[in-house]
Structures are given as structure tokens and as C-alpha cells.
């Protein structure tokens, strides 16, 4: 579960997040949309305990961060703009390293399990620098899944993914829903991403301007209409 209450983040004089309040329950898959600079990445980084809020409260699975950040991190699987992988190491070496950071037992078995889940098991001994962007993103997904997270935070995960890799990603979200994890992902690609979502949020200038369940927008075309309307309303205020 993800909870924020009047969450704010300022970088110097720039207010990147303004009083954001939301709750994402276990088993929900929620899309986060908004124009560039809306604050999506800032929000995701705070939820991932990579950045401290300036004001307000954040809780992951009932654990407040940053106070309980060490505990909360064990529940968070995060995929950001960068893959967080070491180019010089192989897929297996990268995953083994992260498995050790998360103090996992049965490391080799778990690595193989997540590798099979994202379809990278045939190239475990290949160096990451030899992989395409889409394949690296799959490895990054595997890295985020290693420790059985309860909260998935993905920042534009569809970037650079081909059709097969998109399918893998959708499968990950579906599995997360079945396992009762909370998923929040940001995306500009409505066509590919919204099929997986139960609910959608729209941000603009650091504020949440829309929070709607699937039956309000139904599909990507419907959401695109809502998106445009909400941005225009926000501009006119």
C-alpha cells in the first residue's frame, strides 16, 4: 500500500510537488500521467525513499518514510529512467550483486526464477553493455523483482521496449496484481500502458489534478480525452 498526505518537495525555490495526497491499495495497478516537469519522477523517487520530502507524510506498507526508510526499502521494487546496472558485469553478476544487497537466501535459484519471468535466462553470461536498451530494461525489471516487493514503482518503463518486452512488462503488472502488490507507474504511452491499469492519475505543475478509476475513461482513447480536458482546465485556472 502507498499513502501520501499533503506531500511537498522543493528544490531550492522551485516547488516540484505541491500538497499531493493519494492512496494506492494493495492489488491496484495505477498509471501516473502528466506533461514533462509535472513532478512524476519526483513523486516516484520520494515513494522509493530515494529523495526526502520537504513537507508532508509518506507511508509504504504502513511504514513512514524517511523515518522507517531502511525497513520500507525491502518492500519497494523500483525501475527508473536508468537501468542501475553495471555495463561491465554480466546479467547474472548484476543480479547476484543486488540479491546480496537485499540479503536474499537461495540467490542462484531466485535469480533464475526472475530471469525466466522476464525472459532473459538464455543470456545470463552476457555483459550488460552487449544488450539492447529493451533487453537491459528487462534485466532492470528482474533486478526490481528479486526481493519479492510489495510495492512496484516504475518510471516510464515502456521507454525503449519492443512488443515482446512490453508483453513481459504487462505480465509483471498482472502478476503483481494477483500477488496483492501495489503498482504505480508513469507513462506517456497511453496505448501501451493503460491496458494494464485499474486507475489513472494526472499531474500538472506538481499537483494531482485527476484521479479516476477505469470505468471513467475505459480505454486509451477515452483517457487521452480526459487528459486533454484536465490539462486545459488546469491551464484556465
Amino acid at each position: 500500500m502507498i499513502e501520501t498526505l499533503k506531500l511537498e518537495k522543493a528544490f531550492g525555490y522551485k516547488q516540484a510537488l505541491k500538497s499531493t495526497t493519494m492512496t494506492i491499495e494493495a492489488g491496484q495497478v495505477v498509471a501516473l500521467a502528466g506533461p514533462n516537469g509535472a513532478g512524476k519522477t519526483t513523486l516516484l523517487r520520494i515513494l522509493a525513499a530515494l529523495s526526502r520530502p520537504t513537507r508532508g507524510r509518506v507511508a509504504i506498507n504502513g511504514i513512514e518514510i524517511p523515518q522507517g526508510a531502511m525497513q520500507a526499502r525491502a518492500y519497494i521494487g523500483y525501475v527508473g529512467h536508468q537501468t542501475l546496472l553495471y555495463d561491465e558485469l554480466t546479467i547474472a553478476e548484476n543480479l547476484r550483486y543486488y540479491a546480496r544487497l537485499y540479503a536474499l537466501d537461495n540467490v542462484d535459484a531466485r535469480i533464475l526464477e526472475v530471469a525466466q519471468q522476464v525472459g532473459i535466462e538464455k543470456r545470463m553470461d552476457d555483459a550488460v553493455r552487449t544488450l539492447s536498451r529493451g533487453y537491459q530494461q528487462r534485466v532492470s525489471l528482474a533486478r526490481a523483482l528479486l526481493h519479492h516487493p510489495k510495492v512496484y514503482l516504475f518510471d516510464e518503463p515502456w521507454t525503449g521496449l519492443d512488443h515482446n518486452s512490453s508483453h513481459v512488462l504487462t505480465g509483471v503488472f498482472e502478476r503483481a496484481r494477483q500477488e496483492g502488490a501495489a503498482v504505480l507507474f508513469s507513462s506517456h504511452e497511453f496505448e501501451r500502458s493503460l491496458a494494464a491499469a485499474d486507475r489513472a492519475l494526472i499531474m500538472r505543475n506538481g499537483r494531482m489534478i485527476y484521479d479516476g478509476a477505469r470505468d471513467e475513461w475505459r480505454d486509451a482513447a477515452g483517457f487521452a480525452q480526459v487528459y486533454t480536458e484536465k490539462l486545459n482546465e488546469s491551464d484556465s485556472k
Binding site: 523517487r45 522509493a48 525513499a49 530515494l50 529523495s51 526526502r52 524517511p66 531502511m70 525497513q71 526499502r73 525491502a74 519497494i76 523500483y78 527508473g80 529512467h81 536508468q82 537501468t83 542501475l84 546496472l85 553495471y86 555495463d87 561491465e88 558485469l89 553478476e93 550483486y97 543486488y98 546480496r100 544487497l101 537485499y102 540479503a103 533486478r143
Partner: protein
């Protein structure tokens, strides 16, 4: 136990990456060799007491080469985003600091392991290896601890290549002065009591800055 497993994972990763690329060590070794060769040509070995001047040359080679290694320590992590990977995990920030500092210590030690014998050859110096190696180790411990902390600070700035030496050298002055004085005393075969004061300073520096860097590191890397 988890703390040490995570520390080991970070150290092992650092060594593994360096083994594959050899970027840091090769740059450090070349620079150290360059310093020794230039100073070797600059000084007339007949006319100077090399045991007085040599320690300064040695520690110039160690410290400038060391900064090259330290500069890469966090800069590469920040550039590729893998620093976030470490910070995302439930890893004690002290384990991250110790893992990185240990790796830096080993890389600088490897550089010194080549530079010191070259110094002996190029400057035609006779010395007693045992105490001198111990003193160099002590200097390297403090250098690595402070350098790792300040490297983490510098890596998050735009002018990181300039920022690290600007931040590091003023803080290193006590260590470098003490290290040079101890090395001089050791090369000259002086009794320990002649440079014990400098030894005590170096020991205190190592302990204080190792502890301070360990405690402060969390606040440096967290956004």
C-alpha cells in the same frame, strides 16, 4: 551479519568492475610513474639528500594518483545511476561507505605497491621496508576514508573533477605533513621517538576521520 554480507557484496562488485575495465588502476599507475620520472629528472641526485626530499616526492605521487582513483569512485556510479541501486536497497549507509572506502584503499595500495619500489630504483634509495610499509598503510587508511567521503560529495556537483581536489587537499594537509615527516624519519633511520609526535597525529587523524566519515556518509548520499 547482514551488514558484513552487504559490505562484502559492494567490495566484491568494485573489485570485479575494476578487474574487467582496469581503468582506475591504469590511470593511477601511469600518473604516479609520471610524477616519479619528472622529479627524477628535476633533481640532481648527487647534490641533494634524497632522504630529505624523497618523501615529499613519494607522497605527491601517492596523493595525486590517489585523487584520480577517488574521483572515479562515485562519479561513475552517479553517471550510470547505479548509486541509486545501492541506495534503493535496505543497505546500511555505513556498509556502502566502508565497501567503497575499502575498495579505494585496495586500489591505492596496489598503486603504492608499484610506485614505492619504482621510487627506490629511480631515486637510488636504501630503506627498511617493514616499518615504512606500515607507515604508508596508515597514511593510506586516512586518505581513503576522507577521500571516499569527499568523493561522494564532489560526485553530486557539476564541477566534480575540480571540486574533489579543492575539497580534499585542505583536509589532507595534517595527514600529508605527518606522512612526509614519518617517511623522512624512517628513510633516515632516525629513532621512532624522533617522529613519534607525527605518528600519533597520523593515528589520531585516521581514527577520527574514519569514524566521522562513517557517521556522516548517510547525510552526504541521501537526497
Amino acid at each position: 551479519m547482514i551488514f558484513f554480507r552487504q559490505l562484502y557484496a559492494i567490495l566484491a562488485k568494485e573489485l570485479q568492475v575494476e578487474w574487467r575495465t582496469k581503468e582506475t588502476l591504469s590511470a593511477m599507475l601511469v600518473f604516479a610513474l609520471l610524477v616519479l620520472v619528472i622529479f627524477n629528472f628535476a633533481f640532481d641526485l648527487q647534490g641533494v639528500d634524497i632522504k630529505v626530499l624523497g618523501p615529499g616526492v613519494l607522497w605527491v605521487a601517492f596523493s595525486f594518483s590517489g585523487i584520480i582513483g577517488l574521483g572515479r569512485s562515485f562519479a561513475a556510479e552517479r553517471d550510470r545511476g547505479s548509486m541509486d541501486g545501492m541506495l534503493l536497497a535496505p543497505v546500511d549507509r555505513g556498509a556502502i561507505f566502508l565497501g567503497k572506502a575499502l575498495a579505494n584503499f585496495l586500489f591505492i595500495l596496489a598503486m603504492e605497491g608499484v610506485t614505492l619500489p619504482l621510487f627506490v630504483i629511480l631515486f637510488n634509495v636504501s630503506l627498511e621496508w617493514f616499518p615504512l610499509v606500515g607507515y604508508v598503510l596508515m597514511g593510506t587508511i586516512g586518505f581513503s576514508a576522507v577521500g571516499t567521503l569527499l568523493s561522494a560529495i564532489a560526485a553530486s556537483t557539476r564541477m566534480r573533477e575540480v571540486m574533489l581536489p579543492v575539497l580534499l587537499f585542505p583536509v589532507l594537509v595534517p595527514l600529508l605533513v605527518a606522512a612526509v615527516k614519518i617517511t623522512q624519519g624512517s628513510l633516515q633511520g632516525a629513532p621512532f621517538s624522533d617522529f613519534q609526535g607525527w605518528f600519533n597525529l597520523l593515528l589520531a587523524y585516521d581514527v577520527i576521520f574514519l569514524v566521522v566519515a562513517y557517521l556522516v556518509f548517510e547525510f552526504v548520499v541521501e537526497e
